[in-house]
């Protein structure tokens, strides 16, 4: 069967299935379970209407339950077992993590990432959004800055591998150094502590576009009159930006910030491709990947720690986003 036909059939079955589900389930509810006739007609209609939202919610709840809630519980249970899925070890995996060593490094590095990447991305994105709005070629600049968003983390890492390459003929950084008169090329990936920041720059490069697009829309939503009023009040462009514009879009800034924070706690690709977690650049997600398929108990324990770290941020993020929508 040609692929296109398969696709078509899938779409028809999928969409038809949805329509069929909603139609039939409502039909059964209205005709057989609580029919709108007989002596209890009023009560039946009320009950049918009380049940109806759940009919619509059911598919989403079911799928979320299957693919989200079940895996979380499953992972937790798995994290209580050792390398061999049959040996119950209790909280040993967690105890091992907190005993120190690589996990501590990864955890502390991750804290650095969480502090640096969201703040840098949001700040640069905000400044770029403000500056490009004033330029005739601002939209071109925006497209260029947004473009890294379309590149996968691995792809981006490969690009930056060239930038950081330990060779003045390939690596941009070493080329600049050579131009400035330094003789020997250096491998920035091996500079202790600072190599973390060279890795973070990659994610900042990717995420700035995201922050810029959202914040640019928010900036445009600020009522023009408040800015004009500030001009009349004698505020200079800096004061207008920091005292009038930024406070008005603060909720959006916080949503962007937390969204990137959540992302930072998930990205393992960059570290995995660039250093493989060597030279003290390990972070939680890449540390988890180190154990995956070799010691699933440990890996799921790390996954669980990551989830617990992300949860409050996530919770706050959703609450803020909801407030925005109102």
């Amino acid at each position: 069967m040609p692929v296109i036909l398969q696709g078509l059939i899938t779409i028809i079955i999928g969409v038809g299935g949805c329509v069929g589900y909603f139609y039939l389930s409502n039909l059964i509810l209205d005709r057989f379970i609580f029919p709108a006739k007989g002596e209890n007609i009023g009560r039946n209609i009320n009950r049918a209407n009380a049940v109806r939202p759940w009919l619509f919610l059911f598919p989403a709840i079911f799928v979320l339950g299957l693919y989200l809630v079940y895996p979380v519980i499953g992972s937790f249970i798995r994290s209580l077992y050792g390398r061999n899925p049959d040996t119950f070890v209790g909280f040993d995996n967690y105890a091992l993590l907190f005993a120190g060593g690589d996990f501590t490094t990864a955890f502390l590095n991750n804290m650095l990432w969480v502090l640096f990447v969201p703040s840098a991305s949001t700040f640069i994105g905000l400044v770029v959004a403000q500056l490009t709005d004033q330029l005739s070629w601002g939209n071109i600049a925006k497209s260029l800055i947004f473009m890294p968003m379309a590149i996968s983390f691995v792809g981006a890492s490969l690009i930056w591998k060239f930038v950081y390459a330990n060779d003045a003929d390939i690596g941009l950084i070493n080329a600049v150094r050579a131009f400035a008169g330094f003789e020997n090329p250096i491998d920035v990936m091996q500079i202790p502590f600072w190599n973390n920041f060279f890795l973070m720059v990659i994610l900042v490069w990717i995420q700035t576009g995201f922050a810029m697009v959202i914040l640019s829309a928010a900036l445009r939503g600020i009522p023009e009159e408040t800015i004009e009023a500030a001009i009349l009040d004698g505020a200079n462009p800096f004061q207008i930006f920091f005292k009038i514009k930024v406070p008005q879009i603060l909720p959006t800034i916080m949503v962007v910030w937390t969204t990137i924070t959540v992302l930072v706690l998930k990205v393992f690709d960059i570290v995995y491709t660039m250093t493989g977690g060597n030279f003290g650049t390990e972070i939680l997600p890449s540390y988890m990947m180190d154990f995956m398929f070799r010691d699933d108990g440990r890996a799921t324990a790390i996954a669980f720690v990551i989830m617990i770290v992300v949860l409050p941020v996530m919770f706050w993020n959703i609450r803020e986003a909801r407030k925005e929508m109102r």
């Binding site: 009522p223 009023a229 500030a230 009349l232 009040d233 505020a235 009038i244």
Partner: protein, 370 residues
Amino acid sequence: MADLKLTDVAKAYGNVKVLEHINLDVTKGELIVFVGPSGCGKSTLLRMIAGLEKITAGTLEIDGQVVNDVPPSQRGIAMVFQSYALYPHMTVRDNMAFSLKIAKKSKDEINERVENAARILQLDPYLDRLPKALSGGQRQRVAIGRAIVRDPKVYLFDEPLSNLDAALRVATRIEIAQLKEQMPDSTMVYVTHDQIEAMTLADRIVVLAGGGISQVGSPLELYEKPENEFVAQFIGSPAMNLLSGKIVETGERTVIRMDGGGTAVSHYPSTESDKGAEVKVGVRPEDFAVAEGADYLFEGKVDIVEALGEVTLLYFKTPDTSMEDMEKGDAAVIAKLQGVHQNLRGREVRLSADPARVHLFRNGRSLLYR
């Protein structure tokens, strides 16, 4: 000494001329109102005075100093916006204090000025609230307070009442009038499309139309002696009726034979050379009365009667009024009679008017101004 002087001011966006040849002297302490239909450039003119729009040509002087290129904040003006334009993240106090903080005034001075403005506007209880916790009228008062604390030479109001509901609009209008009385030395420029606001607030009204000033004068001057057909129809509601006729007698008084029959007599003087000229006879709806003798100015069949108790509005269908014109509310002749008049619908009615209240226009301009 003119506090605000516009000399041959013009505004163009590229090749599109929005305003041209604006000449205006506003004296200190005057409240001047710009009115005009939407798109006439009244807000643009105000924004040019504020410095939010560049002046394409001409000069703008405030207090004898040319300020064309002076930044808005140094022109000695303060503006109140239609949408209030309050800073949503600041309390009422901070909103009012913002310009003073920017100007690096001392804390004591800021407090004193803010509290003084709050007292004038009765905003004391709300000083620590955010704008979103205030009603529309209170917000507008905060916006006015923000202007007051700056102690400007000229206040600019850009349709400040348009966002308020009808009852609040009347109340706030009166508040603005009282505010003006408390500050007799401040010059105010007020933009509105609402002629009631214009008539009640203004010392002088500037009617803007077609990219220029149509007429400048006190409210009653505009009402009693409109310079042209536009002002005649713009001021007053319902609009003045304009009927065609030919001058048959000239002199101290002018007699016109109406195209629809009838005869009009006007106190507008005319010269011998006007004899036979085609003119428009303008009569305000409220100046019409039912003709008692044989003389009448207008005769027509009553199409619609609107009895409002206090007055009765009669809409006449004239031979040259189409249904569309009726719907737009113009071209139909309207008479506003005092008191209640019943059973007039469908009847032929003859109307006359006091010669002192009959206006004459030739080629769009009043015969009084030539």
